[in-house]
Symmetry: C2
Subunit: 121 residues, 2 copies
Amino acid sequence: MFDLDVRSRKPIYEQLVEKIKELIINDLLKKDEQLPSVRVLAQQLTINPNTIQKAYRELEVQGYIYSIKGKGNFVSETTSTIHSEKRVKIEDELTRLISEALYLGMTGDELCGIVREIEQR
Amino acid sequence: MFDLDVRSRKPIYEQLVEKIKELIINDLLKKDEQLPSVRVLAQQLTINPNTIQKAYRELEVQGYIYSIKGKGNFVSETTSTIHSEKRVKIEDELTRLISEALYLGMTGDELCGIVREIEQR
DNA sequence: CTAACTGTACTATTATTATTAATACAGTTG
DNA sequence: CAACTGTATTAATAATAATAGTACAGTTAG
């Protein structure tokens, strides 16, 4: 289900959070869909249930999922707020990166060329 | 000279490496210019000399500086190789980010708009 | 030559943090 | 009731960044 990099600087639980977020944002995990239980997913990924728990907890805090004791963790309604937050984050990152690229001598034309190319895939 | 985030996930020495790299790439540190000694810089930044040493060592390995025992560390000639390596890295990052943005529903026009805006600053 | 600066090397210690491990308790459901 | 869910807690482990302290070697100005 996921591929994690245990030797990344980014902790496993954060990697999990990001991956699951992506799935939710891109609607690959539908509203009210049940996520694997902490124990099952831990076994699948051969990591500790506590690590999964930590990721799920974080996702809950951020509003991506909700959990019901005894039943499981479920995808919550992906609000437009979440989408726009995500967009803002990407725009920030993009701005930083584009600035750097321009600073290194890349041209606006060049950068837009890259955009168009990716757009057509 | 530098502002470091001691509580970042990225280690201090890596932050240093990146900052100095930027200065070199953007020619704010000229060829053969002497860098602050490990002890002096350590005192300025109130961190341990060993941490500076580690950063300088890394910069030397990557070819950004050279060091002469007893004299100091100096900026080496910034080869076009280094520049192109940097560009490749930025392109990779950019590709990833643009893909994500498009996936979230941003349009190519929109992205190019951002590029043009930054370009005119 | 010597003092005061440079880089370099090495070991030990501290601090932080992610992860694991092991339990325990609580709610749900067939 | 058994077997699944989530949740909580504490302790141990592992990895690593950073510090501390010291030592040695080369350079240079006085």
